[in-house]
């Protein structure tokens, strides 16, 4: 029987890890709301599982998304994940070919070079040795890159790399040492017994010239096994928990499990699925404009995972969604952050009792216009919308012309869901009483919540979409002019609701739209976000100044947006280039 005591650390580590993971995942999944558990049951034997496997291959192994954002970083991640994966797969195949059986203990393939007498050949043993050496060298190169990244991150096109705490550094060191240890153990064995290929064989011969390999070899295998075992034991409490968890997450995600308002097991799984690649740090405008370096998802999730105080980090986020859009794992960063904001409200029958329902409209208009609170500070938007309605001869009713009610999202994004729900219910009643078929709003914040949190049975459109529709239907007379425009897509509209094409269409039809690298879901945040309650007005101004600067670089005549809050915020700092709402551009054309 192929056995030696040194395999014990590895084997114990592996079994402990597997048991731990099973218990952990079972606990998390059991805490899901019922609806999500049903989704898992339904998804398990569907095509979604295959899709997941493909995604796991692409993302967890090849790290295709990181590759796209940053090839060097992608390569590093790939060497680790894919390289190790190949090493295991080919090692297993090799052991199976040698053993001519699929059933051998898991350590056998790992420590194959120890158990396999070098002189004994088997079909393709040379080739296997070559491939295994190749993969190992591939991995060692990855480690080299990782070491360089740690000390010199700019080479990777990153402004900074994720900062680690001592425990993580320990695990990291263990991980880094595993493959050199394997290399050494295999080389030593080769140096004594021969075997191996271009890497381990040559190294073995080289070491034999000056080292007493016979004394050292056994210890080297112990070391290798111990490092592996140690790594497995440490893994659940380290960032490397992301390796198994990401896989689980991809399955769950594809089966349709959702991040809900509460922080639950699914949030935990996502939190643990973060590989701390640090891409979010570089997309974060708080980092870029305000030099805030402790609140990005990578740090925030780490605090969550480590049960450190995260109250400030929870609030210190614009919820602009730029990190979420860039996250290679596809974690619901905004939703998780939001779920950690405590609900400060207590609902009684007094809560918003002053909001009185509206009388049912006797002759309902087709369109109900909801300007939104903020739009009342930008009367230009409201007036333009009214002009557009009139020009298109649309029969509309202005719901919040006199006494508007907030949509509730500002409460919700502070975590105050209880009070938000009351607002939403009351507002919904008032909207429904209009009897309209389409609800048009000028505010992306309202728009998002109307779509996601309300149960309105009528069509909900942001005014960009609505104007686009009017243009397409030819209901709006059109004059294209020479105005050079850039479009600042509001966070809640583009990334938040996926409205990307409509505003671009509209702008292209009425002006000379200059494409920018911030188009669509890459748009910047204006800085005025209500979601962040930590930064002060000067810091908000800084973000807005930088955003204006970024757009101004394209030398537009006007910066166009589609949100009263963005307009006010950008307008505050943009003194040379006017900031206008898309409705204003259309109304003036």
């Amino acid at each position: 029987m192929y056995y030696d005591n040194f395999v014990l650390p590895f084997t114990i580590g592996l079994i402990t890890l597997l048991v731990y993971l099973c218990v952990r995942y079972y606990k998390w999944i059991r805490s899901f709301p019922k609806i999500d558990r049903i989704k898992i049951r339904r998804g398990l034997f569907s095509r979604k599982t295959l899709v997941s496997i493909k995604e796991i291959f692409m993302e967890s192994l090849l790290h295709h998304k990181i590759f796209k954002t940053n090839p060097v970083l992608g390569y590093m991640h790939m060497t680790f994940a894919f390289g190790w994966f190949l090493l295991i797969i080919f090692g297993k195949i090799e052991s199976m070919v040698y053993h001519t059986s699929a059933f051998n203990p898991p350590y056998f393939a790992i420590f194959f070079r120890y158990f396999h007498p070098a002189k004994e050949t088997f079909p393709g043993s040379e080739t296997f040795a070559f491939i295994m050496d190749l993969i190992l060298s591939f991995l060692l190169l990855g480690i080299l890159l990782a070491v360089i990244k740690r000390f010199y991150s700019k080479m990777f096109g990153m402004k900074r790399t994720t900062k680690q705490r001592p425990y993580d550094l320990l695990v990291l060191t263990v991980l880094w040492l595993i493959f050199p240890a394997r290399f050494i153990a295999e080389s030593f064995s080769s140096g004594i017994n021969g075997g191996g290929s271009f890497l381990t064989h040559s190294a073995g011969e080289f070491f034999a010239t000056f080292l007493p390999l016979r004394n050292l070899s056994y210890g080297a295998w112990w070391t290798y096994s111990s490092l592996l075992g140690l790594f497995f034991l440490l893994l659940p409490f380290s960032r490397y928990m992301h390796i198994p968890t990401e896989i689980v997450y991809i399955f769950l995600k594809n089966w349709g499990v959702e991040q809900r308002k509460q922080y639950n097991g699914f949030s935990e799984i996502q939190t643990n699925a973060c590989s701390r690649c640090g891409i979010c740090i570089n997309t974060c405008q708080l980092n870029n404009s305000c030099d805030i370096k402790d609140t990005q998802p990578v740090y925030f999730l780490r605090r969550l995972r480590n049960h450190e105080d995260f109250s400030v980090q929870s609030e210190n986020c614009l919820l602009c969604g730029r990190c979420e859009a860039a996250c290679p794992v596809g974690i619901n960063l905004n939703a998780i952050r939001l779920s950690t904001r405590p609900d400060l409200t207590r609902v009684t029958k007094e809560t918003y009792a002053y909001i009185k329902p509206k009388a049912q409209a006797e002759t309902p208009a087709k369109v109900a216009y909801f300007a939104g609170c903020m739009s009342h500070l930008t009367p230009g938007i409201i007036r333009s919308m009214q002009e557009i309605f009139d020009k298109a001869k649309v029969n509309y009713t202005f719901i919040d012309e006199e006494e508007g009610v907030c949509c509730g999202r500002p409460q919700a994004i502070c975590g105050n869901w209880k009070a938000a729900k009351v607002l939403m219910d009351r507002n919904q009643e008032r909207i429904e009483s209009s009897g309209a078929e389409i609800l048009v709003t000028s505010c992306p914040i309202c728009y998002k919540t109307f779509k996601e949190d309300y149960t309105l049975k009528i069509k909900i459109m942001h005014h960009t979409e609505y104007i686009d529709m009017l243009l397409q239907e030819g209901k709006l007379p059109l004059h294209k002019n020479d105005l050079k425009t850039v479009f600042h897509n509001p966070c809640e509209l583009g990334r938040g609701c996926g409205v990307v094409d409509a505003p671009n269409h509209v702008l292209e039809q009425v002006s000379q739209r200059i494409p920018t690298r911030y188009d669509g879901k890459n748009s910047l945040c204006c800085g005025g976000s209500l979601a962040n309650t930590v930064i002060d007005s000067q810091q908000k101004t800084k973000i807005s100044t930088d955003t204006v600067k970024a757009y101004s670089a394209y030398q537009p005549d006007v910066i166009v947006t589609a949100c009263p809050l963005c307009k006010k915020t950008l307008g505050k700092t943009s003194t040379s280039v006017p900031v206008k709402d898309i409705a204003e551009i259309v109304a003036a054309s």
Binding site: T348, Y354, H376, C414, L423, D536, L565
Partner: protein, 111 residues
């Protein structure tokens, strides 16, 4: 109706000497910009909730500064947090965060 036909009225005066300024200390720590208020009333003029009810955010923050916390407990929940006031404030007071900070204080100091 009691025997007397009346009760001894309670004072409406703000007694700054005896009022509890704990909430004030908490809020000023979290939202130092509150100190900048010049009580112009811009926040209140445009207030979404203020159009529908007696909610007055300027007074609310002034009550806090005087330690009249009872008024705050009665009024605070009327705010919709829509944030319009932040855009209006000429002194850059983070009025919305102030409300949140008061909410937080009240939640953490419930009797």
């Amino acid at each position: 109706m009691n025997f007397w036909g009346f009760n001894i009225s309670e004072t409406r005066s703000i007694n700054y000497d005896t009022n509890d300024k704990d909430m004030l200390i908490h809020v000023l720590q979290e939202v130092p910009s509150c100190k900048l208020c010049i009580e112009c009333g811009g926040c209140t003029a445009g207030c979404t909730a203020g159009r529908l009810t007696s909610f007055n955010i300027r007074k609310l923050q002034m009550f806090m500064k005087r330690g009249e916390n009872k008024e705050i407990r009665e009024e605070l929940h009327k705010c919709m947090l829509c944030g319009k006031c932040i855009l209006v404030c000429p002194r850059g007071v983070d009025t919305r965060k102030m409300i949140l900070s008061m909410m937080k204080y009240i939640k953490n100091n419930q009797k």
